[in-house]
Amino acid sequence: MKWIYRFVLSLFLVSLLIPLTGCERVSAKGAALYYIRAEYQYDDTQPVIVPEQRDLFGHESDPAYVLRQYTAGPTTQGLVSPFPSGSRFTELEIADATAFVTVSGEALSLNDSKFSLAAACLALTLGQDGSISALTLRCEERSVTVTLDSLLLYESPFPEEGSTTPGVSP
C-alpha cells in the first residue's frame, strides 16, 4: 500500500507546478484600453479618459493586436471610442520608443482637440508596458504627437495632507 501513498503525494506535488506552466499566461489580467467617458460633458468630477480592462490572451505586448482590439470599441456601458465610426488603423510603426499610427480618413472630421484626445487615448493604451513613451497620430496630412509624461488628465480638487493648495495628477 506504500506505493499508493507515494503516487498520491507525487500527483499533489505535480499539481502545485501547474500555475508555472503556459496556462497561467492565458488567464492573465490582460491590458487596459483607454476610451472616453460619454458623460464627461455633464459630469466634471471624473477624468475624461478612463481605462477598460480587456483580456488580450497573451498579446498585450503586440501593438498591432492591441490596435485591432481597440478598433472594435469599448464593451463597457458609458464609454465611447474617440474615433468616428468606421475608422481603421492603416499603418503602425514603432521607432525610438515612439509609435507612429496612421488612421483612415474618417478621423478628419474630428476637430483639433478631439484629434489630440484620440491620440492621448491611443498613447495611454499602447504605452502600458513601458516600451512606448510617445505616439504620433497621422491622418492624411494631419498629425499630432503626444508624450505620455505630458498629459494632464485630472486635477485633484483638494490638497494632499500638509499642503494648502490643490494637487495635480498628471
Binding site: Q41, D44, P166
Partner: protein
C-alpha cells in the same frame, strides 16, 4: 381602554399617556420642520455662494479670453506676456491652451506644453463656458473654463481654478450657526411641548376626577379647569350637564314622593272604609254607602293611574305623527262632552270660534289639551260662573284662549301650576276629584307640538290660559 371606576382616576403611564403622546408628537413634528429648514437654508446658502462664484469666475475667464483673442499669434511667450498684464486676474491656477488642448501657459508652471485632458478644458474647446464647484471640509474648489474665439473659430481656452478657504469657512460658519439655532429652538420647543402637555394632562385629570365624583352621586360637585380654550368649554358643558342631572334627579325624587303620597291617600281611605265595614256592626244602608265611597276612591285611583300613564306616554314620545286639523271641531266635541258637568255646576259655557285656522297636531292631543283646560275651568269656577273658549289668529300663530271667572291663582303659584301633583288649593282639588296632573299633561303635549302656553290670572276675578301653535301654511310648511 380605560375603565372609570372607584374613587380615584386610574393613572395611565407610558406611551398610552396623552401627555407623553402630545409632547412626542409636538417634538417630532417640530424636529421634522427644523431639519427641513436646516437642510433648505444650508442648501440655499451653498447655492447662493455657487451662483456668485460662477458669475465671478466665468466673467474672469471671459475677460482673459477676450484679451488673449486679440493676439495675432498664440504662443507661450505672447500668452505669458498678455496674462501678466491682467493684474485683476487673481486665481489659484490659470492655464491657457491652444485649440488642440496643449497648454501654452500654466501659472503653476507644471503643465506648460502638456496636453490638457481635463473635462472642463475639453468641454470648453467644444465652445462652452464651464463652471464646476466642490465644497469639502470648509474649503471651496472652483473650476471655470471659457473658449478663446478668433474670428469665429475656437483657437484655445482659458482654464482657471480657485481654492477658497475664506468663503468655505463662511459657509461652514453659516451652517454651524443654522445648526446651533436649530438645536436650541428644538430644545425650547420640546420644553414648551412638555409644559403644555403637562398642563393639558392635569386639566384632563381634573375632569376625569370630577366625573368619578359625580358617578358616586355627588351632583353638587363642579369642575373648574380654568382657561378659555376647548377644555374650559368642556368643563362648563360638564357642569351644565351635572346641573341638569341634579335637577332631573330632584324632579324624579319629588315625583316618586308625590305619586306615592297621592296614591296612598285613596288607598288609605279604602282601607279605612273596609276596616269600618269589617269591624262595626252596620246596617245595610250604611254598608252600601261605605261600599259606594270605596268605589269612588277606586275610580279616583284609576283616573290617577290613567293620567300618569298618559303623562309618561306624552313625555316618552317627543315626535308624534301630526295631522293638519282645524281646532273648532275638537273644541265643539269637548264642549258637548263637558256641557252636562257645566250644567250640573251651574257654569255657563261660551264659544267664540270665528278665528279658527289650521294647525299641525294630533287630534287626540288637541282634545286632551282642550278637555283638561275646560275641565279645570269648570271645576275651579265660582257657582254661576262663566267659561269662555275662543279661537283667533295673530300673524302666523293660532291662539286658543280658555278664560274662566273662578277664584284665580295666586301670583306665587303661577310658576308651579304646570308641575306634577302641584295643587293651588289641595283640599278643594281633591274634593273635586283633581289629580294634580292635568296641567302637567297639557304642557307636555304643547311642548311636544312646538307650541307655547301662557297663563294670566287675577285672584278673585278669574284665569285665562292661552295656547299658541304655529299656523300651518300649506305653501311654506309643505316644502
Amino acid at each position: 381602554m380605560v375603565t372609570i371606576s372607584g374613587s380615584k382616576a386610574p393613572t395611565i403611564r407610558g406611551y398610552q399617556n396623552s401627555q407623553f403622546r402630545y409632547a412626542l408628537s409636538y417634538a417630532v413634528m417640530s424636529l421634522a420642520v427644523l431639519v427641513f429648514l436646516n437642510i433648505y437654508c444650508s442648501h440655499m446658502s451653498q447655492r447662493l455662494f455657487y451662483q456668485s462664484k460662477e458669475a465671478s469666475m466665468i466673467e474672469k475667464c471671459q475677460l482673459a479670453s477676450d484679451e488673449i483673442s486679440s493676439l495675432e499669434v498664440m504662443n507661450s511667450t505672447n500668452v505669458s506676456e498678455m496674462v501678466s498684464q491682467l493684474e485683476s486676474l487673481t486665481s489659484t491656477r490659470l492655464i491657457v491652451t491652444d485649440q488642440a488642448g496643449i497648454a501654452l501657459y500654466d501659472s503653476a508652471g507644471e503643465a506648460a506644453g502638456d496636453l490638457v485632458l481635463l473635462p472642463e478644458v475639453q468641454r470648453s474647446l467644444d465652445g462652452n463656458n464651464v463652471f464646476s464647484w466642490q465644497y469639502h471640509d470648509g474649503a471651496m474648489f472652483s473650476r471655470a473654463a471659457a473658449p478663446i474665439f478668433y474670428y469665429g473659430t475656437i483657437s484655445g481656452c482659458v482654464y482657471m481654478t480657485e481654492y477658497d478657504t475664506d468663503q468655505g469657512a463662511l459657509i461652514q460658519l453659516l451652517q454651524s450657526r443654522i445648526l446651533l439655532t436649530t438645536v436650541v429652538t428644538e430644545i425650547v420647543l420640546i420644553l414648551f411641548a412638555l409644559a403644555y402637555a403637562t398642563s393639558f394632562s392635569r386639566r384632563m385629570q381634573k375632569i376625569m376626577n370630577s366625573m368619578r365624583i359625580i358617578q358616586n352621586g355627588n351632583y353638587t360637585h363642579k369642575v373648574n379647569v380654568g382657561g378659555s380654550d376647548e377644555l374650559s368649554i368642556l368643563g362648563q358643558e360638564f357642569n351644565d350637564l351635572t346641573e341638569r342631572l341634579q335637577t332631573s334627579e330632584e324632579k324624579r325624587s319629588r315625583f316618586v314622593s308625590d305619586a306615592s303620597h297621592e296614591l296612598r291617600t285613596p288607598l288609605a281611605s279604602i282601607k279605612l272604609l273596609s276596616d269600618s265595614i269589617l269591624q262595626n256592626d252596620m246596617d245595610p244602608d250604611t254598608v252600601r254607602e261605605f261600599v259606594g265611597d270605596i268605589g269612588r276612591e277606586a275610580e279616583r285611583l284609576s283616573r290617577m293611574t290613567d293620567k300618569l300613564l298618559s303623562l309618561t306616554r306624552v313625555s316618552g314620545n317627543p315626535e308624534p305623527d301630526n295631522e293638519i286639523i282645524y281646532m273648532a271641531p275638537t273644541v265643539r266635541r269637548v264642549y258637548k262632552m263637558l256641557s252636562p258637568m257645566a250644567k250640573q255646576s251651574g257654569i255657563t259655557l261660551e264659544l267664540d270660534l270665528a278665528g279658527d285656522c289650521p294647525i299641525l297636531i294630533l287630534e287626540d292631543d288637541l282634545y286632551q289639551i282642550v278637555f283638561n283646560l275646560m275641565e279645570n275651568g269648570i271645576k275651579y269656577n265660582i257657582p254661576k260662573g262663566k267659561l269662555t273658549v275662543s279661537l283667533s289668529r295673530q300673524e302666523d300663530n293660532a291662539l286658543l284662549c280658555v278664560r274662566d271667572t273662578g277664584m284665580g291663582i295666586p301670583k306665587e303659584s303661577l310658576d308651579h301650576i304646570f308641575e306634577r301633583f302641584y295643587r293651588v288649593d289641595k283640599a278643594r282639588s281633591r274634593a273635586s276629584g283633581g289629580s294634580g296632573l292635568g296641567l302637567a299633561i297639557v304642557r307636555a303635549i304643547i311642548q311636544r307640538n312646538r307650541g307655547e302656553i301662557h297663563v294670566d290670572s287675577t285672584p278673585g276675578e278669574g284665569t285665562c290660559f292661552t295656547v299658541i301653535f304655529p299656523v300651518f301654511d300649506a305653501e311654506v310648511d309643505s316644502e
